[in-house]
Amino acid sequence: MKIFSTDHKTIAKQYLTLGLFWAIVGGLTSYLIRWQVAYPDTEAPGWGFIAPDFYNMLVTMHGTIMVFFVAMPILLATFGNFLIPLMIGARDMAFPRLNRLSVWVFALASLVLLLSFFVPGGAASAGWTGYPPLSANATYTGVNWGLNLWLVALALEFVSFLMGGINFLTTTINLRAPGMTFFRLPLIVWMQITAAVLFMLSVGPLIAGAVMLLLDRVAGTTFYLPEGGGEPLLWQHLFWFFGHPEVYVIFLPGLGIVLEIMPVFSRKPIFGYRPIIYSTIAAGMLSFVVWAHHQFLSGMDPRLAMPFSITTILISVPFALIVFAMIATLWRASISFSTPMLFAIGTLSIFIIGGLTGIFNGSAPVDIYIHGTYFVVAHFHFTLFSATFFAGFAGITYWFPKMFGRMMNETLGKIHFWLTLIFFNAVFIPMHFVGLGGMMRRIANPMQYEFLQPLQPTNVFITLAAVLLIVGQIPFVVNFFWSLFRGRVAERNPWQANTLEWSAGSPPPHGNFERVPVVYRSPYEYSSPEVVEDWLPQDRPPEPSTAARQ
């Protein structure tokens, strides 16, 4: 395998490697954060004392790493790169060399972010949202180079994903195999290109905003500094104009993974293929007009709160429709509970809870009470953890045979699923109550506030569950590496699925297909009366008799 390869499958694996590496770093930061909250100012086993400044750095880098360096490369870049050409019947991306550039720019971004931990003053510590004026002046946090490098790393990452997004869109528009119309595309392809459009159209203002913040820090401009006539609130608008579509940039590919897996293990067609696509597009468009629900307490014009509450609650309609389509797909199906299916159902059930608490946050009157508390932290972990990790694990276990040519171990997979499910809920369900009790996010030592002291036993419980959640990932790591070398060799189509990637070899060779496939039907024809088997691949020519009838 070439390191500087233009093959989309190699590039996908490179993104996966980087994403899983950062997941370990991100997991370590969450361990240290939780330790400090449960046992303030004691030595964390295996690490040591956590100073308040270091704690600020931990929460900042945890958010940055998990959103930009774990969720994006795994959900978007890994599965997008691996699946789009295979699923549409193309030999590679439209611009293979641009694709190679994008992964190496991302590697550079990773390197810059990694270096920022080791410069004088440490890594960025102004929160993962980087609000000015805190982030605009080095003397406020005591971090100068760390924050500059943080901005550079984010800018590089945005450039990398812009190049990736252009590739995803051009490939899907132009390189579809004969017969692969837009309404025969697997749903994950629809989700990936919608995510690419959302990313491309929302990140521009933040790129401009990040340049402005960097100039404030190094060139003496005053975009965000009130003393020079600037406006700190401007950054919040730019950040969340990107930041809220970004939630769906991460979430839609996760949803796509679930939508691919559910019909295969239910042996039923997906319920409502086209309504799901229309809902996705509607949610994508609405996601551009919800951003200020992050800012109800920011000091913006309070008259804006009502319209943004309405759009925010409106966006739950298309997602509710997709959720019901999933449930209807499972309804009265003969479900086989393999590891990918377990994780897919896990994603669905956890996301429903996260979506419901989102309605609380989106309503301005309720948000005024819970804003900036652990209720919000619990809410977005229910949505983003389900998308990144549950859907991510579902995708990895489902496409592992196609990626690496070997099957993963089912027993270890199921142990991993149940440990993750149980301890995830043990961490984040109590966190809602801590938040309703009034505990703010990002405080290094809750014990210094008298009114928070009664919540401390719950905090200790959450921390112990979080440690077990991290320990519960060990079966996955063992399974991943053991299966990579020792797993049962996979045949072409181990799950008896319909989409085109299963017509290629496991793993597919450079160029993917022996012959460019021809597509005859939609991707979810399971239990079709036309054939004896209960699956009907997209590229199997119709029987002569059926063809005659048509």
Binding site: A94, M200, G204, M212, T221, F223, G229, G230, L234
Partner: protein, 191 residues
Amino acid sequence: MATRTETLTSTGIPSGKVGVWWFLASEITVFGGLIACYIVVRLGSGGWGEATTHLNFSLALANTFVLLTSSLTMVLAFAGVQDGSPKGLRISLLLTILLGLIFLAIKAFEYAGEIREGFTPAAGIFWSFYYGMTGLHALHVLAGVAVNSILLIEALGDILRPNEHRVELAGLYWHFVDIVWIFLFPLLYLT
């Protein structure tokens, strides 16, 4: 197995053109975001009219004509491709590059004069936006000059022929950079 994919297209539009249009869409949001910020902050606070009077209007007007003319020569370069006239292509590309460089030189002269008068990027919010917006635009002009120079070198070495459609793609970008200036000029100099 051959993996050349650029020869395939499901829509009949070359992949390069689809890619460039999506790239320009993302560029529009970068400048769109910046311009929107400028308008909102400017409408939200007073005392800006005075700062604009220190800008050099006549130099900026001259620069506008320079950039508009360069768009014309860029179109002529593509016409050279379509007419199969390598000479026309080379001369028009060279003119486009020179006009781009003249634009940058005039802009640098303008910056120097303003900085001499004490209007640095740190001189207040108007100057922050002025240097931020025109600076980002100038970087785009520089990138366009670089792209056109590569095309010119290839055209002179007669190795551009299989990729002559790239002149059209570079032209799309160059016109975009031109259009951004058409927005920046009145917003900064005429208000």
